[in-house]
């Protein structure tokens, strides 16, 4: 994957782990109000439903389910990270957002090769920052938007 130097990353927590998403994909953060999410029948379990973002109807995905995190709770810090991936918008439910970090390229290592291919595909790399270990996500891969051009026909 492209490894530009000194990118900015949005850092958030799901369960006990810290994750990062390229800040360029992030459009905004919104509070999570489950009652404003409209359920969609027969959708995949991680698809929470649809919300209205200033007149746009966008899907909300529970990232914690995609990351196989158990004991999903809604707390005051639970937020929706609105992403903009090639003009397609999607909201991600995460436990809490901590900071925006500039991570130098030398502090990013390639993702270790594990037997879990899906896991490997969804990681851009591992970053260490002041003794914290942050998993940098290839978010398009995680939510199954690998080829938006094809999907959008």
């Amino acid at each position: 994957m492209e490894q530009q130097t000194n990118q900015e990353w949005l850092i958030f927590k799901c369960g006990q782990q810290e994750y990062g998403i390229e800040i360029l994909h992030v459009q905004e953060l919104r509070g999570y109000e489950p009652e404003l999410v409209t359920k969609v029948a027969k959708a995949a379990p991680h698809v929470q439903g649809l919300i209205n973002l200033r007149g746009q109807i966008i899907p909300v995905i529970d990232l914690r389910i995609l990351l196989s995190i158990e004991n999903i709770e809604v707390s005051e810090t639970t937020v929706i990270v609105i992403l903009n991936l090639n003009e397609r918008m999607v909201g991600l439910v995460v436990d809490s957002v901590s900071d925006v970090l500039v991570i130098e390229a030398e502090n990013i290592q390639a993702a270790p090769k594990t037997h879990d291919m899906a896991q490997a595909r969804s990681l851009l790399g591992l970053a260490t920052f002041e003794s914290r270990l942050i998993q940098l996500l290839d978010i398009a891969n995680v939510i199954g938007e690998e080829t938006p051009e094809v999907e959008a026909e």
Binding site: T38, A41, L50, G55, Q56, I58, P59, M89, V90
Partner: protein, 663 residues
């Protein structure tokens, strides 16, 4: 050239496209035996205007050349020096295609292929060659340079005018461009003028209006002043008129306008008024307006909801204001939605050509009748309808209508008839394509379907059987007529129509013909809906599908088999679909007696949808789910409710399909 003409080029291309379209319409509508002089004039004017526009840019040499030659021939035609024949119309139509191709090439920034144009021009020369002694050699060999217009619009050939053309407040560079332009239209001489202006006298046969519009490509309208100084005797060089009109015919400088000229002036005014009454606006901007007004409608709904808790006496002014705003907003919304509406003629206009050409290829004789061209429909819908309709019409031509001999043997008129029509029906638009051909063969379709292993039974209704031809890979050619067809899937037709919220039905009688009936929503962007609730979830059901709502009595409900339920309503048994089951909703009403049943009609089918509650009627703005998400079964889109939450809009047709698929 100091000015950037590219932005004018866009306007020119759009206009030229429209002019070509007009030209085609008039050509197709032409009665060969008794051509309407108005139509001939209109065809000529279209060529003339395109040439005028193209010449302005200097880079469209081929286009200018082609239109110029075409214009010359058309001029001969409209002045009755050249007989209109079927062949001539064909050549002109071919010319229109060539011009359209050239425009497309220029628009894409490339150079058009000169070969078709050369061939076309030689056809034109042939036509002029056939005119015999009437035509002078000069007319048979039109000048190569794209310069003088072959005649003014008035048709008063040879009547040259002396015009005072004054430019005010323009740059030297613009002036130079304009001078080049004017010198192409006639003789130009400089006259002294006030400082800051450029004054000229132009001796030309082009009328002031045309000059002004040509200048309009470079400068603003108010920067040019054109005054007619005098009309002088026809120039002796004028083609073919030398003998007919003695050069000595007196036309004094101050002569009173001739009657023809007065008529022309009146006509000029009328056409000017028409020009001013429309403006060209990008569809994108209209869409933006539609979206914005949709947003405001939602906000207004939020306000109204919030105001319901207020004391009506204390807040009388506020409530009145909001009420007034609501009604104004509704009008505003209707008006803005109206901007997107175009007459069906927009689509219908292109089919005479399709029919004419396909019929010629197939050696069939076919008359096309259109009706309801004035019916208005959302432009986006019409554009998506054009291809499916073309396909249906081609299909009718190819497989529906028989060869003339066969028709005669059957005792039918050897000339086949295809009708396309559009009309309103219950808040929807119905578009019909019918032919008086051989009709569809129910048995053959069924046999074919069984052969392909499709789930069919002989008890299916005719409509259901005919709809099988829309199944992917189901070639109508083998089935319906034994003529091998192009094999392009009719499934694409159905898919396209379903995508725009349309339904299609077929009725057909052997040897009497086939009718395709497409029913479409008026617009995709807004609709009247009933909001309903099941459990905690809210949905919107399109109002135009709701026949009635009722609370069922126990004796009206009957079970069929394991889980299926039917509603007995005035002698009819309707299947009952539970919304809560279809959408996996928790906490919904447990029994049907506690539910409300909505009787829904889709095409000829009816069913009852069980919901917990009816919340009320709203106008809702339809939003696509696919912009950011994906298609959801049973749902046509979503909308935003008064409290800002999202509600799914049910699609009655696919809802029933989902149910039948075993939900």
């Amino acid at each position: 050239m100091s000015i950037d003409l590219s932005e004018f080029q866009g306007a020119f291309f759009d206009e030229a496209d429209e002019l070509l379209h007009d030209m085609e319409q008039h050509l197709l509508g032409l009665d060969i035996d008794n051509p309407d002089p108005e139509a001939l004039n209109a065809i000529f004017r279209a060529a003339h205007s395109i040439k005028g526009g193209a010449a302005t840019f200097g880079t469209f040499q081929l286009l200018v050349q082609t239109t110029h030659r075409l214009e010359n021939v058309l001029d001969e035609v409209r002045n009755n020096r050249l007989q209109v024949t079927q062949q001539a119309v064909d050549v002109f139509l071919r010319g229109k295609d060539i011009l359209a191709d050239q425009l497309t090439a220029y628009r894409a920034g490339s150079s058009p292929d000169a070969e078709p144009a050369t061939e076309f021009l030689s056809h034109l020369d042939d036509m002029l060659g056939e005119t015999g002694p009437q035509s002078s050699p000069a007319a048979a060999q039109p000048a190569q340079e794209p310069a003088p217009a072959a005649g003014s619009e008035s048709g008063e050939k040879g009547a040259k005018r002396r015009l005072a053309v004054t430019f005010v407040g323009i740059s030297d560079a613009d002036h130079k461009v304009l001078l080049d332009e004017l010198s192409m239209m006639g003789e130009i001489t400089d006259v002294p003028g006030e400082s800051g202006t450029f004054a000229h006298e132009l001796l030309t046969d082009v009328d002031a209006e045309t000059i002004k519009s040509i200048c309009g490509f470079v400068i603003n309208d108010d920067q040019v002043v054109i005054a007619e100084l005098a009309q002088i005797a026809p120039a002796a060089t004028s083609i073919a008129e030398v003998n007919a009109q003695p050069a000595s015919q007196p036309t004094p400088a101050a002569a009173a306008p001739k009657p023809t000229e007065a008529a022309k002036a009146g006509k000029g005014k009328a056409s000017a008024a028409k020009d001013n009454s429309t403006i060209r606006v990008a569809t994108q901007r209209v869409d933006q307006l539609v979206n914005l007004v949709g947003e405001v409608v939602i906000d207004q709904a939020i306000l109204i909801q919030a105001c319901q808790e207020l004391d009506p006496i204390k807040h009388a002014t506020l409530l009145q204001g909001i009420e007034h705003m609501s009604s104004a907003l509704r009008t505003l919304q209707e008006n803005i939605m109206g901007l997107r509406m175009v007459p069906m003629e927009y689509a219908f206009g292109r089919y005479p050509r399709v029919v004419r050409e396909t019929a010629a290829k197939l050696n069939k004789k076919i008359e096309l009748h259109t009706s309801g061209g004035e019916t208005e429909l959302d432009k986006g819908l019409i554009e998506k309808l054009i291809d499916p309709l073309t396909h249906l019409i081609r299909n009718s031509l190819d497989h529906g209508i028989e060869l003339p001999e066969v028709r005669q043997a059957k005792g039918k008129n050897p000339v086949g008839r295809i009708e396309i029509g559009a009309y309103h029906e219950g808040g929807r638009i119905v578009v019909k394509v019918s032919d008086d051909g051989a009709g569809m063969n129910r048995e053959k379709i069924l046999a074919k379907a069984i052969e392909r292993g499709m789930p069919v039974s002989s008890s299916m209704s005719d409509n259901e059987v005919f709809l099988l031809v829309f199944a992917p890979g189901f070639s109508t050619a083998d089935v319906v007529t034994d003529v091998s067809g192009r094999g392009v899937g009719m499934d694409v037709v159905r898919r396209n129509i379903q995508e725009i919220g349309g339904q299609i039905q077929i009725s057909s009688t052997k040897d009497e013909g086939t009718t395709f009936r497409i029913s479409l929503p008026l617009t995709l962007a807004i609709m009247d809906g009933m909001s309903i609730q099941a459990g905690k979830e809210r949905f919107v059901m399109p109002l135009n599908h709701i026949v009635e709502c009722l609370q069922p009595a126990t004796e009206q409900l009957h079970s069929l088999g394991q889980s299926a339920m039917v509603l007995h309503l005035r002698g009819e048994h309707l299947p009952i679909l539970k919304l809560a089951t279809l959408f996996d909703i928790e906490n919904a009403a447990q029994t049907l007696e506690q539910s409300i049943l909505i009787v829904v009609q889709v095409g000829q089918e009816r069913y009852a949808l069980a919901v917990d509650q009816l919340l009320g009627q709203h106008q809702v703005v339809v939003k696509s789910l696919e912009t950011h998400y994906e298609r959801v079964a049973g749902v046509s889109g979503a909308t935003i409710l008064g409290d800002g939450s999202v509600a799914l809009i049910l699609d009655p047709a696919t809802l029933f399909d989902t149910y039948q698929a075993g939900c």
